[in-house]
Subunit: 362 residues, 4 copies
């Protein structure tokens, strides 16, 4: 399969450019009989929307999802769910400056090198706009997970070097969505906001880290040896624009620990086996162990600056790319629902794949 599909049983195939007619996708393999909560889908789309707080870009995308198939009388029918989201913002004149100039750390140059042709309007296919389709599929995946009691919680744990020190268990998860930076720690949140405002004034941009916790996952999900749970998660998360790093559980910190510190000791309360610590991040040998799945994604700073930058054009001539007037300083808070969506797609797929693990069924 070409690169615009993800999943083995629960699959999303997406399409669409930033400034074409519409973006959209096909969700295939969603089991029949799932009740669709359209209000929930709208709220997930709203969470991803630019301008969810005063700190991000004011562009209004309404991002209304039109479902075209696969749902009948409010339930999935087992047939593919086609959907589109129309693009409202199609003034292509805005993009003449980048037609022949390669924006630094964007995909203009690489798309040209690969395909020999490029829809330059607003980044085309490489624009983060395509992530809206991931959120649609993620919302439906979350409904599948909810059937099993599985819940996914993402938040911003670091922006521009300012990060949360607290243990995950002591965080107040309820603060996340009310925070303009989706940070559950009120003290850190303020520091992040200050940094964003300073950076905005300087015409510069910031990156950060999203942490994601998946609760109530049953033991047994993941398909070794290549489709390990953390491997498919890593792929899904690293496929999001601007992600440069992925960690599960102890992550890079694991490299600095002794085995005696890192090993998660098993214990049993008589009915359920669990581990005292969770350095494994809920995954051992590529299969979930029933503990919380915990992972992190590092986002680079936004590549579009509000300052001029030197670059080259498609013929190799040195030129100047003018800074953009108004733009996001930091998209990490908006990335939270996208990270959650990708995690949901991966988990829903593994839930269904796991139905074939045993001859006796589940």
């Amino acid at each position: 399969m070409a690169g615009n599909s993800i999943g083995k049983i629960f699959t999303l195939t997406s399409f669409g450019e930033s400034h074409g007619t519409a973006i959209g996708g096909v969700i295939d393999g969603c089991p029949a009989g799932l009740e669709i909560d359209f209000e929930f889908i709208r709220s997930e789309m709203q969470r991803r929307r630019p301008g969810f707080s005063d700190l991000s870009s004011p562009r209004k995308e309404e991002d209304e999802v039109e479902f075209l198939s696969g749902i009948f009388e409010g339930k999935t029918t087992g047939t593919p769910i086609g959907f589109i989201i129309k693009n409202k913002d199609q003034q292509s004149k805005d993009y003449d400056q980048i037609k022949d100039r390669y924006r630094p750390s964007h995909a203009d140059f690489t798309y040209d090198q690969k395909y020999g042709i490029r829809d330059y309007r607003g980044g085309g296919r490489s624009s983060a706009r395509e992530t809206a389709c991931r959120v649609v599929a993620g919302a439906i995946a979350k409904m599948i997970l909810k059937h099993q009691g599985i819940e996914i919680i993402g938040f911003v744990s670091e922006i521009g070097g300012i990060g949360i020190d607290q243990q995950i268990d002591s965080l107040n998860i309820k603060n996340i969505e009310s925070s303009p930076v989706r940070c559950p720690d009120k003290v850190i949140e303020k520091q992040m906001i200050n940094l964003i405002e300073q950076t905005k004034a300087a015409g510069d941009t910031l990156g950060g880290v999203v942490t994601c916790i998946i609760k109530n996952t049953p033991a047994g999900l993941g398909e070794p040896v290549f489709d390990k749970l953390e491997a498919e998660l890593a792929k899904a998360i690293m496929s999001i624009n601007a992600v440069k790093g992925f960690e599960i559980g102890s992550g890079f910190q694991a490299a600095r620990m002794k085995g005696s510190e890192h090993n998660d000791i098993f214990e049993s309360d008589g009915s359920r086996i669990s581990t005292l610590t969770n350095h494994s991040g809920g995954v051992q040998g590529g299969i979930s162990n029933g503990m919380d799945i915990v992972f992190k994604a590092a986002f680079k700073p936004v590549a579009t600056l509000m300052r001029d930058q030197k670059t080259v054009d498609s013929e190799g001539n040195t030129t100047i790319l003018a800074g953009k007037g108004r733009h996001d300083v930091c998209v990490v808070p908006r990335a939270v629902p996208i990270v959650e969506a990708m995690a949901a797609i991966v988990l829903a797929d593994f839930l269904l794949r796991n139905r074939s693990a045993r001859i006796s069924g589940q």
Copy 2:
């Protein structure tokens, strides 16, 4: 497809348990007419072998690869390459202690939860022994890459918190294979060796970081939006036993940088467009840009200790797992050829996938 295959065109399907008759695999999609360098395969297998230095476990695996098909008169024929590696070490009595006990931070518990049955001998399928098959396929992938001049260089950049500070460009790559810890920095190497010896004396274990550089990659490899180059690399690397983190280019450090620092400015020498810095790690928008691809993998410390550990058995009773007599303290140096192999498989697959990028062919 079930989870034991990787790749879309150049694919490896692997099989085998640690203490079964043999492990092996099928490489399908290898183009015809590739001359096979059997000596190179042997040397790659040798690089992965336990006991390549005095620092690691003395167990001798000869790991002789028997090719059963797909090669005729020294060349690939385009048909699948089947191969096996016989298991020499099959004394199953060694493994009675772990038959019903769950080793901490191993996959015993999760395999039982998933499948309801488990080949407990030596870890069975979850043993790192299966990575030998990855090295076989990786060696053949490297031969495909060599046709394009692409080269893959891995080394150990950190063990137990002791890491290289030097810039990648200033490292002496020629030191790697002569180093017992595969570290190109002679000063750091000594510190690593000391730490390993101390840790061994304490019956404990260590993790570390492997850095990998892919040189001379043409621009254009990678298949957005889900099969981005860094996404497939992340999956392949995270599917290796004990890996807890993956970074491309600036990785988690990106989250702490400003956009103006992080952006890689384009320049041209008249014939070729390149970037002044390489925070992108050779990939922009999921597609290679022609710069070196640079990534890191974090390995947790070895879970098998030479000390006793508390654990539970399959019925949830608390029990003690006895420490093993002689075992690896740190497998990170041995992981280098495995990391390289997975990178080679991913790159070879993308090279072939890219042949369909344009209607006019390549």
Copy 3:
């Protein structure tokens, strides 16, 4: 992958029910730089349309294809091509009679059994309406084939037992599209039309056979041992509604021939090796040999009758299904472009897959 995608490199994922908002699809893996002939797509859609002759149902579907992505300034960009076709005919009141009754030899019963829920309006997903999406993808596949000079010609060779006796080579291909039954033999055409009219008067329906010829295929297409050219063709053709049989070359007739009659003897004109006969149908060992690929598809008679039929409802009660007022007697002529489309999708996919056959490229 779930069942709504076809192809490995050139892929179509389709969605949509007969009476939902729209049907559509995503074509992924189409190489960049292909000039899109929109007029050709319209003409292919027109060929499939009901009512192309007086002999078929007068329902007007305009079937206007809206392309949403993947095409820029008239050319493919290498990104996925999303498209939709709106459904015009959505009066669901027409379909109350089949809501709880199982139409004989339709898919009402089996969809209910599989999914436990069914969009009963007009057959929902099982309606032949979804084949419109196949024609869209097929039209684009034909443009890829045209680059190589490959041409696909389908026609009706049999209706209700009345069939062409002539050798394929002696048929006048130019007669096909001007014939209301897409039969190139003028004498047989008249007999077919007579039979259709008699059958219509009797309220009954007819099946038939479509023959398809693929000209100028290069030798070398097909991927043994499972993805043989004839195997993928068979799958693609058998996935069309109402197809009950598939033959390549000599087909079932082969079973009645001696080896000495059936073998296709090679000859050479000095520059090109060909065969004297073509019982192989252009395929040997699953790979094209450069001769015309010739195959046949058998269609069962239309299951919807203009007569009452006995059946059961979803609770197993015997009931009567009223005959429909006006309906197609024979859809085989309309199936010709669908058969061609599926053949084109398979061939385009094999052309791209074949780019990886040799290490030296193409």
Copy 4:
């Protein structure tokens, strides 16, 4: 994936050439906990063996299957099942005559055209020897099916134009395995044997038809719209060497019937809905309806003759291919277990895929 894998959940990846070291395969996705009946596997291999009757070639292949992984203490573990079958017959001197000559209606020419290189010994990968691996996987698939009470029965219904007239229901299935031509009709069997002996005397060969019945399939198997049950079956069957045609249910006969004759009328006995006739062959809309699945496969006559034939060499020169001394006249009886194996693989895969049809599980 390259072309040597089949299946989506239950998958077989096969490898091996006729005269290499060994053939073999990997069965991935077989659920854990399946008890393996090794005696049954041996008997299935025996059924496929050349020389099962005096009528076929006397070459003795013992075809001993060595399982290398995935089975522990007699049960599947959910990990991939690797197996090999060593090649005993490796005298390559026999094959010098075909090194540079293209045998008519074999794959010598097409493999050369595709790959530019070919293992000419005994047909290499294109030899029917690879079907032994299909029988291994098929035997395991049959064990999965047996769990659901599903049974597969294949027999020879036609050889060289001599065919069974009886209705399927009136055939005595118990006669099949005791018949040297696997024909359940004793009168027809004798005629077939006579024809084979006459043809042998003439140095010529025969083709035929295998009919296959799958009993007790639950309703609901098959994944429209592209992976319809009959579509995947057709692909699997057409991928067998020498198959030129496939029919489900009424097959090509459907094209000659009226709708009123062909429609299968539903009836109910109060607890189960079935159909009065079974022209559909157990499949409606691509999904099983609970009736017997009935299909046919047409085999061309053996291409290797015991007579001289004209041909060309790889440089296009006309030459003579000498007739072989002793060879099979008709392989159709031996093809029966191969046809059954492919049907079993397809059905087992669909059983597992169907576990994801509904949100509530099965």
